[in-house]
């Protein structure tokens, strides 16, 4: 082993021992600690009862959507969460927004715990954090005009505002997303997908939030429209000093948009790094495979890393590292022991025994 490798290993060990909680909490806006969410597959109590060997037993099955996720989102950054379908990235977004209750773990916003608040107590936080959904065809109420859609959050969060003030604000937010304020009387179905997504963004921006959770906001749009909406989100970030939690499966968008990236696989975060570091030097074997699979314009003969098999079901999670069944570097330790996120020299955090042991 070379001297640098020794150093690297030493650094790994040190940081593994220090609690990871404190290092980033200073300027973080949102903290997710050991978040777990499982969904029951077996219905209510009576449906769970089964006969087994002459006895009545209770049989329960769960989808383990998130299994111990720790994330810190710093003020002013865009944290992108990437992963393939079923990896739990949307569940993270929905749990953060309080649309789902976590099974275990804590979520704190600006230092205050929000996952156990009642909906009344949550109201002031709802004003500060807003969400943009994937499908603009489903996220706009078809029976409300655009004006009504945009007025609703304002009336809820600013009950003291008079009608004139609300209308002024709606006009302002509409023009800021590039929608003609005269279109307020129209309904959602009269607009194209790109315009609808602009309206959904306007609705999120109407209450002047500081934090926005965007769940695949451009995936349903055409290529030329994707660029428009992405530009709009970036302009909003610059002008309003927004913080984003950006959920996507499109790595090209992440490379362009993200400050930091968290890669998820089967409900766990396997690597967190700044965008440039992750794309230049992916550490985790899964990240490497994922990045090599992006279809690029330059090369006409792709050389992507082929993974064995397919993503296992989140009902019966594999033991040890969730990725071990498909990983080319897996050994006995990977099959038994679950890896934790370990900070590397350049600040990247990787959950992989092979990286830790310098086997890659």
């Amino acid at each position: 082993m070379t001297a640098t490798a020794m150093n690297l290993k030493g650094a790994n060990l040190e940081s593994a021992e220090t609690p990871t909680q404190n290092e980033e909490s200073a300027d973080s806006l949102l903290q997710i600690r050991n978040l777990k969410k499982r969904f029951s597959l077996s219905g209510d109590f009576l449906e769970q009862l089964r006969f087994k060997g002459g006895k009545l037993v209770r049989h329960r099955e769960y989808v383990h959507a998130i299994n111990g996720v720790n994330l810190d989102i710093k003020r002013g950054e865009a944290l992108c969460v990437v992963g393939e379908s079923g990896c739990g990235k949307s569940t993270v977004a929905r749990t953060v927004m309080g649309l789902l209750t976590p099974t275990e773990g804590e979520i704190s916003y600006a230092g205050q715990r929000i996952d156990n608040l009642s909906s009344r107590e949550l109201l002031p936080f709802r004003k500060r954090m807003q969400m943009i959904f994937q499908n603009p065809y489903a996220s706009l109420n078809p029976r409300m005009t655009i004006q009504q859609t945009l007025e609703e959050p304002l009336r809820l969060h600013h009950p003291d505002w008079n009608r004139l003030k609300v209308q002024e604000k709606v006009q302002e937010v509409m023009s800021s997303v590039g929608i003609d304020p005269d279109w307020g009387k129209r309904f959602g179905h009269e607009f194209s997908g790109g315009q609808r997504q602009r309206i959904a963004i306007a609705r999120a921006l109407a209450v002047d939030p500081e934090f926005i959770v965007a769940d695949e906001p451009i995936s349903a749009l055409d290529v030329s429209i994707q660029a428009q909406v992405l530009n709009l989100l970036m302009d909003a970030q610059r002008d309003r000093n927004l913080t984003y939690l950006f959920i996507t499966h499109d790595l090209a968008v992440v490379e362009h948009f993200g400050t930091r990236v968290a890669v998820m696989y089967l409900g766990t975060v396997c690597e967190i790094a700044t965008t440039a570091t992750l794309f230049n030097k992916p550490r985790h074997p899964y990240t490497q495979a994922l990045l090599s699979a992006i279809p690029r314009l330059e090369d006409d003969r792709p050389q992507h890393i082929r993974l064995k098999g397919e993503v296992p079901t989140p009902v019966n999670l594999p033991s040890g590292c969730v990725f071990h069944g498909r990983c080319p570097y897996a050994n006995a330790r990977c099959r038994q022991e679950t890896p934790t996120l370990v900070t590397q020299l350049d600040g990247t955090r990787v959950a992989c025994h092979a990286v830790e042991e310098d086997r890659l």
Binding site: Q228, L290, P295, R296, L307
Partner: protein, 339 residues
């Protein structure tokens, strides 16, 4: 003569509001074993173009003009009976959603055997042997078990492999793949595309790949068509179009990709959105969004507004734009300035 020749294809949909022209003057050729990509945004007519090749356009759509010649056969004037001998046999299709394409109440084996027996006079046993061989070719683990499984027992990637196996079942001359990987994850997409490419090369099968993903087109195809509002606006060798697009729309599309911009900077977006086919602007359909305008007054060139552009040869590519010559002149001047 090319294996497949499409000339001036014109497809219309008779709707209550009036006739919508989904395809206008679409012409292209495909040689034996060649891979052709058709790109465009939703509503550009790329799927209609593919479906009309096998006359799969349902009512109220109909082919209003043009001809489709495949290996000496005139496909659009053929009887339904004769066409059925071509469909699935000499030209097969792969659709976007593998769950919708497979029959949920038949096992994989039954579906494959059914397809084989519809076109060939063979015993069920022989058909099953061929099916097994094709499943092995698409690298499905434990193919014997798969034959007796039902579609819902398989994952999305596996189902799409089965669809590819079915498409290859009768050793077709051409496979038409309509967004074959759009419903799949990136890593699975990469595997499926690599597999499709490998099999097409191995069996010398022609491929018409319809997609909105320029990255996929550039990796898989040799030639490509770019469609906009029902017309082909640019066609030529894929590499040349990707590296040096001539039509302002193609340029905009490629430049709008996040990988073309510096991270953190604004993306180069195209203004506005594609017009609806029932309400196309006069002249060049792209002119309201085109950046190539009169610099003096900021208005579009008169030619672009008045006349639909004809195809102009530009190297190995053909471009439907009035301004190609002028743009090339501009670029030449710029290059001279630099040097």
């Amino acid at each position: 003569m090319a294996l497949l020749e499409v000339t001036n294809l014109d497809v219309r949909f008779g709707l209550r509001q009036g006739e919508v022209r989904a395809l206008r003057d679409v012409s292209f050729t495909l040689e034996r074993g060649e891979r052709l990509g058709i790109v465009g945004e939703s509503g550009a007519g790329k799927s209609v173009a593919a479906f009309s090749l096998l006359n799969l356009i349902g009512k109220p759509g109909f082919i209003a003009g043009g001809s489709i010649t495949f290996d000496g056969l005139e496909l659009n004037s053929m009887s339904e009976r004769a066409l059925r001998k071509v469909r699935g046999n000499r030209i097969s299709m792969i659709f976007q959603d593998p769950m919708m394409t497979l029959n949920p109440v038949l096992s994989i084996g039954e579906q494959m055997v059914e397809c084989l027996k519809a076109h060939r006079r063979i015993s069920s046993k022989q058909a099953r042997a061929i099916a097994l061989d094709k499943l092995q070719q698409v690298q499905i683990p434990s193919p014997e078990t798969r034959l007796d499984q039902y579609p819902h027992e398989l994952s999305g990637g596996m189902r799409q492999r089965i669809i590819i196996a079915i498409a290859l079942l009768l050793d077709p001359d051409i496979i038409i793949a309509d967004e074959p990987t759009t419903a799949l994850d990136v890593t699975i997409q990469a595997e499926i595309m690599a597999l499709l490419l490998e099999l097409c090369e191995q069996h010398n099968v022609g491929l018409i790949l319809i997609t909105h993903d320029l990255g996929v087109v550039s990796q898989v195809t040799q030639r490509m068509l770019v469609m906009y509002a029902g017309r082909v606006i640019e066609q030529g060798p894929t590499r040349e179009i990707i590296n040096d697009p001539q039509h302002p729309y193609t340029q905009g599309l490629i430049n709008a990709l996040p990988q073309m911009a510096t991270p953190g900077e604004r993306l180069n977006q195209i203004r506005g959105s594609m017009p609806s086919l029932s309400n196309l602007p006069d002249g060049c359909a792209f002119h309201p969004r085109c950046d190539f305008i009169n610099k003096a007054n900021g208005e579009p060139r008169p030619a672009c507004v008045q006349k639909v552009p004809e195809f102009v040869d530009s190297g190995n590519c053909r471009v439907a734009c009035h301004m190609v010559a002028e743009m090339q002149e501009d670029r030449r001047l710029k290059l001279e300035e630099i040097s």
